[in-house]
Symmetry: C2
Subunit: 335 residues, 2 copies
């Protein structure tokens, strides 16, 4: 990075190139009505002076050429790829990416959105937001939004980009069934009736549907929240129950890894005594010691697709797009 001795503004460039500021502005925005020679002349000055337009000033008047990405927590390895996929597309299109991360409480997200609004972002990407459909709609009236990992297939004013979690749940049931586990259960989060858009819920619904299609009216569902049961007491109880299923589909690798660990401690062999499938295909699932089958979501593509949605929205598209990308079962030793 070169040190910028003094402030280089659009005026500096205009003076240097011997043209007006509006001419420079037009070159900057590829606007209509500038001669090729003027453009080259100005561009040369811009390069030589190392001029960068002030996003703050642009934001005040028109576009900031920046997309805001909102996350809740940074734990999920999945996020990194989604963002990488999005930034690649946005970079290419000359857009910057800024992120804001909430710390797990719901009301925080509204504050983050306001921050983004106050900086005049051109669009927002919301990853796994914990907001009601109406709230999302209200946001979408103020700024284009692309919602990732949150199912709202009928939303009319914003786009959604998801891995097909319902299909993933079905695939899990099918794979376990075909492997001979006809009593498979699911290990997932506590039921959240207020969050029908939740990815875990979609996986659950898909799982149940597929089991019912195979004649199991009430497949067993075990629920446990992330924080609870730190000593693993309930988990052990579930695993030691004499009538426990011989196979479990876990809503995420985080759950699956805990099961693998407790099973090992209890002398329950995987997959001999218990077959497992997780979700997310996280690095930890791939560890030889863990070695649990899992669903790969195409995170890079989710990110890229979201970015493209935002760009076309900004360019004026007004009808909604709802993308559903197929997850893929990665088979490992656990089933």
């Amino acid at each position: 990075m070169t040190v910028k001795t003094r402030k280089i503004t659009i005026k500096t460039v205009a003076a240097d190139a011997g043209v007006s500021v509006s001419a420079v502005s037009k070159v900057l925005r590829n606007a209509y009505g500038v001669s090729e020679s003027l453009r080259e002349n100005v561009q040369e000055s811009i390069n030589r002076l190392g001029y960068r337009p002030s996003s703050a000033a642009r934001a005040m008047r028109g576009q900031s050429f920046t997309i805001g990405v909102l996350l809740v927590g940074l734990d999920n390895p999945f996020l990194n790829k989604v963002i990488a996929g999005a930034s690649a597309v946005l970079d290419e299109a000359g857009f910057k990416t800024m992120m804001a991360v909430g710390q797990a409480e719901t009301h925080i997200e509204s504050k983050l959105i306001e921050t983004m609004l106050d900086f005049k972002m051109d669009g927002l990407m919301l990853i796994a937001p914990r907001m009601a459909a109406e709230t999302l709609e209200s946001v979408s009236r103020q700024i284009p939004i692309a919602v990732v990992a949150h199912h709202e297939p009928d939303a009319r004013y914003f786009d959604t980009i998801n891995s097909d979690d319902h299909f993933g749940g079905m695939r899990a049931a099918e794979a376990l069934w075909d492997a001979g586990y006809h009593d498979a259960g699911m290990f997932t989060l506590p039921e959240r009736l207020d969050r029908p858009a939740d990815v875990a819920l979609q996986r659950e619904l898909g799982f149940i549907e597929a089991m019912q299609a195979r004649g199991v009216a009430n497949p067993r569902i075990y629920r446990m929240s992330e924080g609870e049961d730190d000593d693993g007491h309930h988990l052990d109880e579930m695993l030691l129950a004499p009538d426990r299923p011989r196979a479990l589909f876990c809503w995420s690798d985080l759950h699956a890894v805990r099961v693998v660990n407790h099973a090992a401690q209890l002398g329950i062999r995987v997959p001999g005594d218990l077959a497992l499938i997780g979700y997310d295909n996280s690095p930890v699932a791939a560890l030889p010691l863990v070695d649990v089958s899992s669903f790969r979501q195409n995170a890079l593509e989710l990110g890229a697709t979201s970015a493209n949605c935002l760009l076309t929205r900004i360019s004026g598209r007004s009808h909604p797009e709802h993308h559903l990308l197929p997850p893929e079962l990665v088979r490992r030793g656990s089933m």
Copy 2:
């Protein structure tokens, strides 16, 4: 979130409260010279109208009341806590936090810094930057910066906030030595002579120093980069060498977990045949199946301290501060 029908600016508030815009501005900034009654009056309007000052406009003129956080990658679970610690402090002080994440290449970081500069952030927090000291200095001439997880103890124009990695390395050697492992080696990253500020290097130097103090002139150092050796061939080779050390200090849990896995596959018992200590105290290290001792860095406090450094810098402090927080060995089954 309430829907903002029309744009509410400082003018709207001024009109509503029946005062001038400068009066409102002063209330906003807690500036000197506003009567209590006027302040209350204005504040009431602000609340009732749901007015939020435009960060974009503020940024153009003065402070944006926003701190930028720069990361390279989102993989490390450590990051989440650093950011949580920082946001808590910044929130409290009325500052917003915006993040930008680079994708592993060095030159990207300069671009991110420029983005932050273009948005007129009031300060920057750089987490584990891969930049030379001179580059950091040049940045610090343009904006206050707090550098985290990057050792530059003699820097005069910016602050550094680190876990004491050198001490951590020494503690690891000491702990292994005291447990009877006098031939302990270290498993770390490829040497980077161009990165003396690197945390891994500091751990290595501390480890070597402590071993030498105990009479081991040349403790064994094994090096392997993150991406290489995906099949684990070199790792297996190292583990199967007849004269391999009976204890390994790994620069991070990522390395340690790989060792645990390969050891298990090769029938090498931990800690019976091989003792291990990792670094970061990541969740995966705590898994019963992995169960590897590790150093806890006080990430929350690192974040909070960095935020405070930034705030005092913004308030005018000009002498540097260099914080070194003590890491703590969390003992588990691996040693």
